[in-house]
Structures are given as structure tokens and as C-alpha cells.
Symmetry: C2
């Protein structure tokens, strides 16, 4: 056995560096988008040489792929009272957005980078889709309703965290949920 003796896999001496790179990458991608986030800047943030980034992640594209790994951690909406799924989902998404900048990295990059956009599509198809499917009776309605939810969720994130429209920035969590919750509710479980 090697190293510090963890229970699983082999702990490499370079794990700390790898993690530092990933953290710095997420921050840079989140703040600057795909093309303005340079390998050199990321390396500088992580206090290592740019060539280390290449050694550990191959190239910029793969680095982004690693940094953009993300789990929405959606709650099981079937256990929530039918009339509250909208506010519940909205609150969860706001929280998820605020405590992890991976989503921001994904969003900023997805606007100018094809691979990132594909990632975003997968994220909604693979994570939001199933959550919505558990609520909707007619399977044919699932994609549209999930899409509409994405519409409002991403629009809120875009205007609040990226464009920073003052009145949207000014909303506190409760106000945001109160305004957006009913919209989500209708998209998830409303008529039509």
C-alpha cells in the first residue's frame, strides 16, 4: 500500500494540485467564460505552471469537461405536496446556484462554446427531465414542461448573476421564490 492510507483507490501525491487546478478552473470559467479563461490564468490562480494543467487534464477542452461536472441534486418532488412543487423546486435551484459556481461556469461557457452547450442540454435532459417525469401523467408533455422550467430557471440566473439587472439582483431568496414559484408550478403541473 502507498501513501496516507485511505480506504479506497490509490491516493496520488498530486491530488492536491489536481484539486487546486479544478477549483481555479471553475472560478475562472464562471467569471470569464470559456475563451477568456486562459490556462495561464488558471495555473497562476492554482500557483503552478501552465504545463501542469496540460499534464493532468490533457487540454483545455478536457479541463473544462472535468470542471463542469455537476449534479443538480434535485429533491424527490413526488414527496412534496402537489401544490408546492413550484416553490420547492424554485427554492432549491436558487440555493444550488448560490453555493456552487459550477453552474455559472457552465452557463457562461455554454453561450460561446458548443461542447459546453451540449453539456447544458445533457444536464437538463438527464437530471431535470426525470424529476419532471415523476410529476406529469402524460409522458408526451414531459419534455416541453421541463424545457419551460429551464427557460425560467436559466433566465433568472442569467439576469441575476450574469447580466446583473439591478431589480433582479435586489430580490432576496423569499421574494424570488414568491415570484417565480407560481410560474414553475404552472409549468410543472398547470393546465394545458
Amino acid at each position: 500500500m502507498t501513501g496516507t492510507g485511505s480506504t479506497e483507490a490509490k491516493a496520488r501525491r498530486s491530488d492536491a494540485t489536481r484539486a487546486a487546478i479544478l477549483t481555479a478552473a471553475r472560478e475562472r470559467f464562471a467569471a470569464d467564460g470559456y475563451e477568456r479563461a486562459t490556462i495561464r490564468a488558471i495555473a497562476a490562480d492554482a500557483n503552478i505552471d501552465p504545463s501542469m494543467v496540460m499534464r493532468y487534464y490533457g487540454n483545455k477542452e478536457k479541463l473544462f469537461a472535468a470542471a463542469a461536472e455537476f449534479d443538480l441534486r434535485l429533491p424527490d418532488l413526488t414527496e412534496v405536496p402537489r401544490g408546492e412543487v413550484g416553490t420547492r423546486l424554485t427554492g432549491h435551484l436558487v440555493d444550488r446556484w448560490e453555493d456552487d459556481d459550477t453552474l455559472m461556469a457552465l452557463l457562461r461557457a455554454a453561450v460561446t462554446n458548443q461542447a459546453a452547450a451540449e453539456r447544458m442540454r445533457e444536464l437538463f435532459a438527464a437530471q431535470l427531465g426525470p424529476a419532471v417525469a415523476a410529476l406529469v401523467t402524460d409522458p408526451a408533455e414531459v419534455p416541453v414542461r421541463a424545457g419551460l422550467v429551464a427557460t425560467q430557471a436559466l433566465g433568472f440566473a442569467l439576469t441575476r448573476y450574469v447580466l446583473r439587472l439591478p431589480p433582479v439582483v435586489a430580490l432576496d431568496r423569499a421574494e424570488a421564490v414568491a415570484w417565480l414559484g407560481p410560474t414553475m408550478q404552472r409549468y410543472l403541473a398547470g393546465e394545458r
Copy 2:
């Protein structure tokens, strides 16, 4: 008098070139975002030399500023039946988005470029704000309601035209208006 004899201002011989540059710039900024849209590519599209772009627009920043000039042409919502302002506004925005790629250029650029983001904020404050103000009785509510409208409008545009989430792309104009209209209605004139 000079040139082709228009009624106002002086028509320069280079006006065609200036317009070609502007058109190419809008298309490139819309398709690629601010940093990936290069002066060289824009010049190539317009069939001229990159240095002409500099001569006529000074630098890339000013070129963008000129290309991102935009008027939402919002209808006078006070002449629309109170209950239909949501669908009316939604329909107008969808149309506006589809027949002019300036908005797309503005959105794609605003995600990674500060000046473009500021432009976007101004656009909503100066154009959407007043339109909303004409509908809402309490002036204190105007900014929030306009912000919420922006939230849904930009979210729809983002998911449909930029991220291209399949179910959102699949909506036709009528379906989009039917789904988003009520949301807009509530943001514009709903309770709370």
C-alpha cells in the same frame, strides 16, 4: 451638394462599406460572441480589409457599440385590453427576436463582455421600464416587474436560440405565446 443627392446630411461614398461592415459585425457577434468574433473574420465577410474596420469604427469596442444599437419597438400596451398584455408582449418579443439578430449579438456578447452587459441593462431600463410603468399603478413595483419580464424573456431566448434545448426549439410561435403569455401577464399585472 455632393453625391447621390439625398435630402439630408452628406452621403459619403463609403456608406455602403460602412453598412456592410455593420451587417457582418452583427452576424459574427450574434453567432460567436464578443471575443470569438474577430475583426479579420468580420472584414472577410464584408469583403474588405481589416484596417478599414479600424478606420471607420476606431476599434473593436466601438464597432460593437455601433452594431449593438437596438430598438425593441415595444407596442403601446395601454391600448391593449388589460387581460391580453401578457400574450401581446410575448408575441412581440418573439417576433422581434426572430427577425433581427442584433438582440442575439447583444445577448451572446453580454455574457462575457462588461460593456455589452451594461448595454443590455440600459436597454431594459430605457425601453422595457417605461412600457411597464404605463401599466402598473404603484411606481415602486415597476422595476421588479420589468425585471421579472426580462427574466422570462431572456430565459426563453437563451434556451431557444443559444443553448437550443430541443423541446424549447420545437415550440412554434403560438405554443410559445400560449405558455409564456400567462407568465408575462402575471409579472406585468398580476397580484402581489
